[in-house]
């Protein structure tokens, strides 16, 4: 009677049929524990990745997911956490933490704005702490890696602000303290530089860089010569980084390596990743996260999402092939054909590096980064294009 009362749908006929079957299994299934919550192994395996969504499902209601890019787990995520309103994430390795620079309004879309860095524990994916960013001035826009960066071996977190005045908020992630706000007139974004500093790209085509002291104040400052042709062939905002060198690429495929390992940026020799014939066919890098740098078997490799017939305005469309380039010889080693049009790519580290791409069809495509062989295709939680990929062990 109780069963009937609770479920409302117990049919006597079914029960009668069940008697025979029950004889095969003399005991019913055991009752199970409730209250169990999954925990994660740390450090994470090499191949896990975070997906940082622009709007999944909404801009305010967005999230990051941790996934195992293996065909067996195509329907599953490993875990997820909120990442609100154009949030950028940073995956730590010095401490088992993930950092989310995010924004809240007291009434969702209105009320008081609060910007914070939320610190998540990698094992439990629970918030460990929160650092409030003063002034409600965090730059908000389509998610991108260089709006939120580490410096000083992950001791510092740097947040790019735009109000439309450009500044950088300097946070000590260990003590959870806001240290300083560095003015950045006419420059944008953050590229970790030297022992304790960062560089930014400026409107006049130069790169400005600062080193910070222990209190986060500017200790030294340097400006490069102009090398970013914002009129005719601008550099994409995010570089591929290998061994302290940041490889910026231009809309038309010129590579500008900048050594950011020292106190001041050092501009290295440029080269073109397209041949003259390819340039004529307007083969160009394209996408939201169109470049990835990775050491593969000890050699520096750039992976570039490419499109043919590029033109003014096509630089964010993405493409369906990835070129693999050797940074020493500048040779194109391989072309990996993607299943579908991708706008973001990343390459994981370790012995079995994976090329990953998020496509317009809302899937994560996974390939062997060396052979180019396809490994998995997994649905992701967004039909939108702007889903950044961050290897969980950068």
């Amino acid at each position: 009677m109780i069963g009937r009362w609770i479920g409302g749908a117990l049919l006597a006929a079914r029960l009668a049929a069940g008697v025979a079957e029950a004889q095969t299994f003399p005991n019913p299934l055991p009752i199970e524990n409730a209250g169990t919550v999954t925990r994660l192994p740390t450090p994470y395996p090499d191949n896990w990745v975070f997906l940082d969504y622009l709007a999944s499902p909404g801009l305010i209601d967005s999230k990051a997911e941790l996934v195992n890019p293996d065909a067996r787990y195509a329907k599953q995520v490993i875990g997820q956490f909120s990442a609100s309103y154009y949030a950028n994430i940073l995956v730590g390795t010095a401490r088992p933490e993930v950092y989310v620079a995010e924004t809240f309004y007291s009434r969702g879309t209105r009320g008081t704005r609060t910007d914070v860095i939320t610190l998540y524990d990698k094992e439990t994916l629970s918030p460990r702490d929160e650092i409030v960013l003063p002034g409600a001035k965090r730059w908000v826009g389509v998610v991108q890696p260089n709006a939120f960066q580490f410096a000083d071996h992950e001791t510092l977190g740097l947040v790019y602000n735009f109000t439309p005045r450009s500044t950088v908020t300097v946070v000590n992630l260990v003590t959870r303290q806001v240290l300083n706000e560095v003015p950045l007139p006419g420059c944008a974004m953050i590229y970790p530089t030297g022992p304790r500093g960062f560089s930014s790209m400026c409107a006049d085509g130069t790169m400005v860089s600062v080193q910070l002291d222990k209190e986060g104040a500017v200790a030294t400052q340097n400006v490069t010569t102009a090398f970013n042709d914002l009129n005719d062939d601008p550099l994409f905002a995010a570089p591929g980084v290998i061994d302290g060198v940041s490889y910026f690429v231009s809309y038309k495929g010129k590579v500008h390596p900048v050594d950011l390992s020292g106190v001041a940026p050092r501009l290295l020799s440029t080269w073109s990743l397209v041949t003259d014939d390819e340039a004529k066919a307007n083969w160009r890098p394209s996408g939201n996260q169109q470049i990835a740098g990775q050491l593969v078997g000890g050699a520096g490799r750039l992976y570039l999402l490419m499109q043919p017939n590029g033109k003014d305005g096509s630089h964010l469309e993405g493409g369906n092939q990835v070129w693999v380039l050797d940074v020493a010889s500048h040779a194109k080693l391989a072309t990996i054909m993607l299943k579908g049009q991708a706008q973001c790519i990343a390459v994981s580290g370790g012995e079995h590096p994976r090329l990953m791409a998020t496509t317009l069809g809302a899937s994560l495509q996974v390939y062997d980064a060396i052979s180019g062989a396809p490994i998995a295709s997994m649905p992701i939680a967004s039909t939108g294009a702007e889903t950044l990929i961050y290897p969980a062990r950068p």
């Binding site: 009677m1 479920g7 409302g8 049929a17 409730a34 209250g35 995520v77 490993i78 875990g79």
Partner: protein, 177 residues
């Protein structure tokens, strides 16, 4: 627990004069006392052994990330098995609500009808994966313990619904006609 006990006791007192007390307790049976599990229920108690093994159980056949799995006959929401949890565990960083709704589902393999407790996991964004809308025995909020349109996140730090589990809490006894 003490807060929840108090709340549910009050509720029990309030409802007792107009509805079956046994039914009410069945609903309260969906609460959990820590991990130690379910207090004495007015339903036939299944064997008390805990399931800790992940080995396939020939008596419990099905794909826990598919809406068609027998335990999900009255589930409405995202399957925790797709969200970083499992059929009976919550994803990292969430909290399992101790109060929930119940369904009665038939296990086609052993022919028994089990009481399934659909404990919601709470505190993260909605998982968004593996949405199922099964409604066997679902009832309006006048009978809350059978209502699956409610966000069952009570006694937890955040009521943000993430996903739903499906936990075997007992065997349904036969209806006395």
């Amino acid at each position: 627990m003490s807060t929840i006990d108090r709340i549910t006791e009050k509720l029990a007192r309030g409802v007792a004069n107009r509805t079956s007390r046994r039914g009410l307790f069945a609903w309260l049976g969906g609460t959990l006392a820590g991990a130690a599990a379910i207090p004495a229920l007015p339903i036939e108690r299944a064997q008390a052994a805990e399931t800790t093994s992940n080995a396939p159980n020939p008596q419990d056949v099905g794909d826990a990330s598919s809406c068609g799995y027998w335990r999900y006959c009255a589930i409405d929401g995202f399957l925790c098995d797709c969200c970083g949890g499992s059929v009976n565990a919550c994803p990292p960083g969430t909290t399992m609500s101790p109060i929930t709704w119940l369904g009665t589902c038939r296990n086609p393999t052993d022919g028994r009808n089990y009481i399934i407790s659909y404990n919601d996991c709470c505190g993260k964004p909605a998982c968004g994966r593996c949405l199922c809308s099964n409604e066997q025995g679902e009832r309006p909020m006048a009978r809350p313990q059978a209502n699956n349109e409610t966000v069952w996140c009570f006694g937890v730090p955040s009521q943000s619904y993430t996903c739903s589990t499906a936990i075997v809490v007992g065997v349904a006894t036969e209806r006395k006609q």
